[in-house]
């Protein structure tokens, strides 16, 4: 195929070990983070969920299938790392203080960080399959899967590849305004058609409390996520406010859950993680 993209550092993808079902065999629960809309906080939620579950004593991994816009390596400050190859496949990058969160992202395969991944569907699909079959995840309680916006190649391929495994379900992220909720409605249809269990909807960026005068402004309006959850008959997992400490912390790749327990987004994020934990305990 006449498509170019990143040249994987140091090895050819064709040399990777063939599909080894064992690679996800040690993963107990897989959670997809989805949204029809871009920039609503999928990667943010994926990152904070992973950190919160880790702090709750769980073994956690993150699979980033946003191939054109991978954000997780930067959000966890490992953007300069590379993945290695071993007998059982690609070794993910381990992040966090105790190096306990396993992460796989296309960001680790790019020669230069600004390289654009200009791939049409088939090439994206092939890499996603490899991410599912060829990464040595080891024993994990949770694998969080961060996705790009939409209902297209990456989504179809990810769900197809993960279906035989321990898919707990999908968390849908939206911001409160109608323009975003409209896209998430379509994502719900995708989940239903794909037979994906919906763990619930998160409303992100709802309300901003001015740090100077404590006035709350609904920059992206308010309530759209909760309304959608009601309308669709799925659980509402909570509202995460617009919190400059959260965006700053992600810019610097810090551990928000550990460092900012007093911030406005903290209780909402940990509450969401708790609900995922509860669901997983009920399912196993």
């Amino acid at each position: 195929m006449a498509l170019w993209g990143p040249s994987p550092r140091g090895y050819s993808m064709a040399l990777c070990t063939p599909a080894d079902r064992a690679n996800l065999a040690g993963v107990r629960h897989i959670v997809l983070v989805l949204s029809g809309k871009g920039g609503v906080g999928k990667s943010t939620l994926s990152t904070e969920l992973a950190l919160a579950l880790r702090h709750a004593g769980k073994r956690v991994g993150i699979l980033d299938v946003d191939l054109c816009g991978p954000s997780i390596p930067r959000m966890l400050r490992v953007q300069d790392s590379a993945v290695h190859q071993c007998d059982s496949g690609w070794v993910p990058v381990f992040v966090g203080q105790d190096k306990a969160i396993a992460l796989m992202s296309i960001g680790f395969l790019l020669e230069r960080p600004d390289d654009a991944v200009v791939w049409r569907g088939p090439k994206k699909n092939a890499l996603i399959k490899q991410f599912v079959t060829d990464v040595a995840w080891g024993e994990l309680d949770f694998l969080i899967v961060d996705t790009p916006p939409g209902t297209s190649d990456e989504h179809i391929s990810t769900v197809e590849a993960l279906r035989p495994h321990q898919l707990l379900g999908a968390v849908l992220v939206t911001t409160p305004q109608a323009v975003s909720v409209g896209d998430v409605r379509r994502e719900l249809t995708f989940c239903r058609k794909a037979g994906l269990h919906i763990l619930g909807i998160v409303e992100n960026m709802s309300g901003f409390v001015c740090p100077h005068c404590s006035e709350c402004t609904n920059i992206f309006s308010k309530g759209g996520g909760e309304e959608l959850a009601k309308h669709a008959g799925v659980p509402f997992l909570g509202c995460v406010p617009l919190d400059p400490q959260l965006s700053q912390s992600l810019e610097e790749g810090r551990d928000f859950i550990q460092e900012f327990p007093k911030s406005s987004a903290f209780p909402a994020l940990t509450h969401i993680a708790q609900q995922i934990l509860d669901t997983s305990q009920r399912s196993s």
Partner: protein, 321 residues
């Protein structure tokens, strides 16, 4: 077969696995496009597209590597701004097939396209402002377009070939985030006519800029001129105490620094304004609803710069021809 204008004699052909990679491709003006898989359409298709798009004077793509940064908002306001001149005919094409926001933002939700003898007719907001979106082809707000690449590409081609756009001064194209099928296809199909350039939208934080740099590299690879960058959601002024907060902090210098480093122009900055989101949700033009707001003034300046760029671009092309 030399399919593309100016292609070398031993051109492997745009459909070949060697497209853009064969020895003969070295120095070919289309090498970047071919290698990206965005090789021009076959000659018959190209002729059809060219015929259809002949009456389009200026084309502007609105792009971003990052989602939710305000591409659709900007596309809509750019279209409104340009159409304020009643002598200009403006077309707004939405190629975000999985997340079409334009119908809602333009106040056209629930509209359907009509088929006429000369093709699909766009939905008109004003006499001089026509809109096309996959949203007009769906029967319910819950309908999802769950398509892989080839089907998306087919529909984008139809939007260009089968829509009766008529005489158009400005064609504005709103895109999904990323550098994938939709982007390659629109550049490929429009290569049959002419693209003035791309406007790239970003927010100030590094998480967004890192994706936008990729988009700029994409533009360079496919030889798409960059008109400039718009920094959106730069700062929020509290309506009560008037203090400014950086909700999306420019930790690496924001769009300004990126533009300097990459030698592209910064067209302007637009602040966070809750009224923008409300206007989008109610399908009204924010420029008309809040004509004196700082965000409107900033949008107007940016629109004017784009207009000037296009006029300039056009003059240069006429000189060459």
């Amino acid at each position: 077969m030399a399919e593309a204008p100016g292609a070398p004699e031993e051109c492997p052909g745009t459909g070949s696995a060697q497209a853009g990679r064969a020895a003969a491709c070295q120095g070919c003006p289309n090498q970047g496009l071919c290698a990206a898989g965005a090789a021009g359409p076959d000659p018959a298709e190209a002729a059809e597209l060219r015929a259809r798009l002949r009456a389009v004077r200026h084309t502007v793509l609105v792009l971003s590597g990052k989602g939710g940064v305000g591409k659709s908002t900007f596309s809509a306001l750019l279209a409104h701004g340009l159409a304020a001149d009643e002598t200009k005919q403006v077309a707004l094409l939405d190629i975000d097939l999985c997340g079409p926001s334009i119908p809602k933002i333009m106040g056209l939700e629930g509209e359907q396209v009509h088929q006429s003898g000369s093709g699909w007719s766009p939905v008109y907001v004003e006499e001089n402002l026509g809109v096309m979106s996959v949203g007009f082809l769906l029967s319910s707000p819950d309908d999802a377009v769950i398509w892989r690449g080839p089907k998306k590409n087919g529909l984008i081609k139809q939007f260009l070939r089968d829509v009766d756009w008529g005489e158009v001064d400005y064609l504005i194209v709103d895109t999904p985030p990323g550098t994938s099928d939709e982007h390659l296809s629109i550049v490929q199909y429009l290569s049959a006519s002419r693209i003035d350039g791309a406007v790239i939208v970003t927010t100030p934080q590094e998480v967004s800029l890192q994706d936008v740099r990729k988009e700029i590299n994409f533009c360079r690879k496919v030889k798409l001129p960059i008109i400039g960058v718009v920094e959106n959601m730069s700062g929020f002024v509290c309506p009560k105490c008037k203090n400014e907060s950086q909700i999306f902090p420019p930790t690496t210098g924001g769009a300004e620094k990126m533009c300097q480093n990459l030698s592209v122009s910064l067209l302007g900055k637009v602040p966070l304004d809750p009224q923008i989101g409300k206007s989008c949700d109610s399908g009204q033009s924010f420029l008309a609803e809040a004509p004196e707001s700082p965000a409107t003034l900033s949008y107007r300046k940016i629109i004017q710069r784009i207009q000037e760029y296009c006029e300039q671009h056009h003059l240069q092309e006429e000189k060459i021809m």
